[in-house]
Symmetry: C2
Subunit: 382 residues, 2 copies
């Protein structure tokens, strides 16, 4: 398959390129290095040292696997996006290429507007380029479980049958996203749904949970292939940040009472979910939606798990309750359906002490690189 990976330099984009290339696919990665630039702006860095794209490509080629092609450019630049899709003619477009941080989008007006324009325009450009130059391609778009918010009913996979005043319809699941970033993903989903209905485009919206983990089979053990691992308060997600705090010997920062519950999955499962989506092309005309997550945890449960695994690893781990910088319900119902990907063949990797210890072990290698100034929340929702 010819697979275009947008956002190929990111936490998930890079290992996804390796995953597909390892399996013999023609992979073209695209990135404008926005994620590296955001970190320059914030004075933060990946825990893992990461190589330039050129060095990564060479290191990958040295493994004897099929090479990964790369083009640098911005999806908001129409000339670039059109040319990439018109010339590569992908079978599948895996779209990781967006600003992925909720706190970053909440910093101020400028970051809010940037996040929405960057994500919405990039995605619209991809849709138009598909319509014009690759109408048979399949868009595999990364969304987020955070689009749904925390409704008091079970969260279905994208659509819900509603019975109302004696009539019935199946409609998009109502969403109450929790940040300007999450809103940008809702805007994307709505735009894609429309493009599918109007133009018959094939698309899968993957509403992904929070990803944890530091390596995949393709990149593990080869430092030149490291993917980035962020632990700062902007781009570091809960479990990854907690593990880093545990190794650094500073308290885990639990926001609010810690009852906030979210869907999670292992980085290895992300690779496989995206592959399953690509291998199973949907019909055109209706956007398909999968909830891409394997387990639910509260923040408190994660903190306890890291404490326990840390103790087994010889670390004394404290927990510090921090004023919640977000405006969100802390005690709430949360029960998302996530059976579609499992029914296509996903075997979930469940989170346990051993897995956490492996992550702690890898972090340990880079302990000297931890900047403890980066972990306290700096953006607030107020």
């Amino acid at each position: 398959m010819k697979i275009l990976v947008l956002g190929a330099d990111g936490y998930l984009g890079w290992p996804q390129c390796c995953y597909f290339a390892k399996r013999g696919h023609d992979v073209l990665g695209v990135d404008n290095f926005a994620r590296r630039n955001f970190h320059t702006e914030l004075g933060a860095d990946s825990l893992t040292p990461i190589q330039s794209m050129e060095k990564r490509q060479r290191a990958w080629e040295a493994t004897g696997n099929k090479p990964i092609q790369f083009r640098r450019g911005d999806l908001c630049d129409w000339g670039f996006t059109e040319d990439v899709i018109a010339t590569f003619k992908p079978d599948a477009i895996v779209h990781y290429g967006e600003q992925p941080s909720a706190p970053y989008s909440m910093i101020d007006r400028e970051h809010c507007v940037f996040s929405q324009v960057n994500n919405v325009v990039g995605n619209l450009n991809v849709l138009w380029a598909m319509k014009m130059h690759a109408p048979g391609a399949h868009l595999v778009k990364l969304g987020t479980m955070g689009e749904y918010g925390t409704p008091n009913i079970d969260i279905e996979e994208g659509y819900i049958e509603i019975e109302h005043k004696g009539r019935k319809d199946t409609l998009p699941f109502p969403k109450t996203p929790g940040s300007f970033y999450h809103l940008s993903k809702v805007h994307d989903s709505n735009n894609i749904m429309f493009a599918c209905r109007m133009w018959g485009i094939k698309a899968t919206d993957l509403n992904q949970g929070i990803v944890y983990g530091i390596e995949t089979d393709e990149i593990a053990g080869n430092e030149a292939l490291n993917t980035r691992f962020d632990y700062n308060s902007f781009f570091g997600t809960a479990l990854n940040r907690f593990c880093t705090q545990a190794v650094a010997g500073i308290p885990l920062t639990v926001y609010g009472n810690g009852s906030q519950t979210r869907g999670y999955l292992n980085i290895r499962d992300t690779m496989r979910c995206v592959e399953l989506a690509c291998e199973n092309t949907p019909e055109g005309g209706k956007m398909r939606v999968f909830n891409q997550m394997t387990e639910c945890f509260s923040i408190k449960q994660l903190a306890e798990l890291v404490q326990k695994a840390g103790a087994e690893f010889g670390l004394k781990v404290d927990v510090q309750a921090v004023d919640n910088p977000r405006i969100e319900a802390e005690d709430h119902y949360f029960n998302p359906v996530h059976t579609a990907l499992e029914s296509l063949g996903l075997t979930p990797t469940h989170l346990n002490d051993e897995l956490v210890r492996t992550v702690l072990g890898t972090i340990q290698k880079y302990k000297d690189r931890i900047d403890t100034d980066q972990v306290m929340p700096r953006a607030t929702w107020k």
Copy 2:
């Protein structure tokens, strides 16, 4: 009240300024003349001759009413929007200032991206300026009934109680908008809903039906106060276009089988609805939604009404079925709830032959200005 009217040069914005000024409010209008520029681009023009804003302001002052202030600028220009809101400190912000045409947003990629960026960024700037400089102000935002699409259940006013698997929640009404323009309004609604929840902003989303009519009490009979009246296939909405076609002696262009049903209201009712929203400030924290429409008609019914009123007026009116340029359900259920504004005091102006004859009479005055090349659809949804 200090009322800021965004989009003060438009079809509804200008008469709304006069409506409020007549009632003694302090009115500041804002516009970047985008609507005039769109018409220059398309080689089209308003049926009614309209004056420059300066001449309009002077003509209004000559009526002895409270003057209307005006500032030219673009809501996407943060410096401008911030300064307007920080210095005027409005009690209410009536936001008509968006690109309002579905077909215009469907012309090509450029017009699609322009429509979404223009509308979403302008609206985000207004929200941020309110948060920073006018936290007590009330945003009265013009949305559209087209955000809902045509679901097979009754359309509630913004929210719906859903019972699902034995649990219940009241959630945003699921939307299936029909163009990139309509999507921009959905994005706006989602952004406003979030700003209300996070920052306690007071906002009313007016999901307006299709407005018809050519004059209001404040501007009727004074040509220098004319508001624009568009009949071209981009900015001319169904009934207004039909009336113009009837007077021009060309067939009414009914798209598809004409069973498409939508909500409508008279321009005079729009004025009053917006006033009712302003007079009844909602609590902060939850976006209030009104469905601003008074009656439902199918396109076919409208065409028949214009035929009948035209005959009484001495016009022979033909109807021409045109291939539907839109991708939309032609036969569908459509039953929106619209009781909130009536319960606040709206007395609906119902559409009838006499009203259509009055519109025909006004159009007759400007018959020589009709450019019949402008009425056939030029943008398609395909």
